[in-house]
């Protein structure tokens, strides 16, 4: 028996989330007293994963897999599960993983728990804690099938070094054909995405208009953060919908979320609840966001944010 982690990569390099799922997978393997196998696709720096506990890396190298196809990946995972006698499959919560996970679960007849936030509290029965009710609660979920699939919520476990002497094995699964064809990929270039960002700087209607977003972008730039916005801002067309954070927008699970001129409607808070530290800057001392935030400044964004940018630049220069 073994635990299998699917480590995602982009242009041959592992995403940060791959190190988190590998760290998590190693601990699950220890709980089950078994070994950790990591499945990689078109990557060359597989030895990096040994540092996080990957005892065996199964590397698939095939040009046909340059573009992600969920069905193909699900079939590859199935073959890896059979080859390695896997009892738990672990994925991250990136868009591609969430796409493939239900297909994987069906392929191997496995119960699937998404949004997992902690190690299994028990392995017999197998129980994991997961986020539910749009981050307003957790449910402890028992998976009763022989094989289990888990997707780990971003930034919920952390990255831990656990060096092992691993091996990498070339894996050549049978590839299935699909009539679902990728025609084009539009990638926002040169910007930190909300999904990958450790810090997110978000603006609301308090900024009064799109022409005032320069300071949000500058603050984000100083902090190497992604920019985001509240729903009314995207509805008004001040910012693209892809930046809308909230219940029906993007969820944010960053280490730091800075909300500027956002009052904190319940739908917005549902989207950012998973962020570890929340800062709010708002003129209205009664804004609901102050109840959800860790740190707050009651003040005018147009006065506070430029000062914050200036001071952060000095701080960064001194702490470089």
């Amino acid at each position: 028996m073994s635990v299998l982690v699917l480590a995602e990569s982009s242009n041959g390099k592992f995403k940060k989330s791959s190190f988190e799922v590998t760290s998590y997978g190693k601990k699950v393997a220890e709980q089950l007293n078994t070994n950790l196998v990591v499945l990689t696709v078109n990557t060359t720096d597989n030895e990096t994963l040994y540092k996080y506990g990957a005892e065996k890396v199964l590397n698939v190298s095939n040009e046909a897999l340059t573009t992600f196809n969920a069905k193909t990946i699900a079939n590859i995972v199935k073959q890896a599960v059979e080859k390695e006698n896997v009892e738990v499959v672990i994925l991250d919560s990136n868009a591609n993983a969430l796409y493939a996970a239900p297909l994987i679960a069906v392929n191997i007849n496995a119960g699937y728990a998404s949004n997992t936030v902690a190690l299994p509290s028990s392995t017999t029965p197998f129980i994991v804690k997961r986020k539910a009710f749009s981050n307003k609660a957790f449910n402890n979920c028992e998976i009763s099938t022989a094989i289990k699939v888990i997707s780990l919520a971003k930034n919920s476990y952390g990255i831990f070094e656990n060096e092992v002497s691993g091996t990498t094995e070339s894996f050549t699964p049978e590839l299935t054909s699909s009539n679902l064809t990728s025609e084009s990929i539009e990638q926002t270039t040169g910007k930190v995405t909300i999904a990958d960002a450790d810090i997110v700087v978000s603006g609301g209607r308090g900024l009064k208009g799109p022409e005032n977003w320069g300071m949000i972008e500058e603050l984000a730039s100083v902090l190497n953060a992604a920019t985001a916005c509240s729903k009314p801002v995207s509805d008004l067309g001040w910012r693209p919908h892809s930046e809308h954070v909230g219940q029906t927008g993007k969820p944010v699970a960053s280490n730091l979320y800075i909300a500027i001129g956002i009052s904190g409607a319940i739908q917005h808070l549902a989207g950012i609840n998973s962020s570890k530290v929340k800062v709010v800057i708002n003129t209205d001392a009664e804004a609901p966001f102050f109840k959800a935030a860790d740190y707050g400044i009651i003040g005018d964004a147009f006065e506070v944010v430029p000062k914050l940018i200036e001071k952060l630049k000095k701080f960064k220069a001194n702490n470089a």
């Binding site: 969920a70 699900a74 868009a95 591609n96 796409y99 996970a101 239900p102 297909l103 679960a105 069906v106 392929n107 119960g111 699937y112 129980i127 804690k129 539910a132 009710f133 749009s134 981050n135 307003k136 609660a137 957790f138 449910n139 402890n140 979920c141 028992e142 009763s144 699909s178 009539n179 679902l180 064809t181 025609e183 084009s184 990929i185 539009e186 990638q187 995405t193 990958d196 450790d198 509805d235 919908h241 219940q247 029906t248 730091l256 549902a270 570890k276 530290v277 102050f290 109840k291 959800a292 935030a293 860790d294 740190y295 707050g296 400044i297 009651i298 003040g299 005018d300 001071k311 952060l312």
Partner: protein, 248 residues
Amino acid sequence: MKILVCISNVPDTTSKINFVENDTKFDSNGVQYVINPYDEFALTRAMWFKEKQGASVTVISVGDASIEPTLRKALAIGADNAIRINTPATDGFTVAKELAEVIKNDTYNLILAGKESIDYNGGMVPGMIAGLLDYNFVNACVSLEIEGEKATIAREIDGGKEVLTCNLPLVIAGQKGLVEEKDLRIPNMRGIMMARKKPLTIIEPTTNDTATATTSFEKPTAKSACKLVDADNVDELINLLHNEAKVI
């Protein structure tokens, strides 16, 4: 074109989330139930196809009789008929199996659903339906066009979007972008009256296998009060973020 829209009956976004029976059951006392917001995008897109390109729209949900008002609301919005599978929706895999069984017996060209429900947030049912039926599937769908048998779909990826094409049948897990929020429909009086006469078929479940079960619920630990920093002292905020929270 025959379209099936899968609907979840969920607590309204603003509901207080509480649990009873030693934190093993959701407390539905005083909770208003609604069509899952992500499913509303799917239903609205289905109505667009019905009105612009010609399609029949069936809505389906898994649950006991208490979910019928939600299905009637979907009928009032314009769906032609509704199906309720008479079993509690406790496990995503079981729900997907029940829905796949219906689809297998009465072929649909397009199956639309939201990318997740706002109660259990499982995000698994549409993909599992596709997996069980070996249909094409696109997750996190932000646009969908259909011409004849060919579908062109955009899905959200991390930091961008991908455009895909395929032939029907197809399962879509939709989100905002599939339609704009301003285009979501509210049932009017005529729709509500007509919905009363539209067929709502009840069918019995085919399986009682479950893959997952909730053993208990927990609420997040109460957070400490917000530390307020004077607007003239942003240095203090930087100090707290660096030394206390350790996030910069």
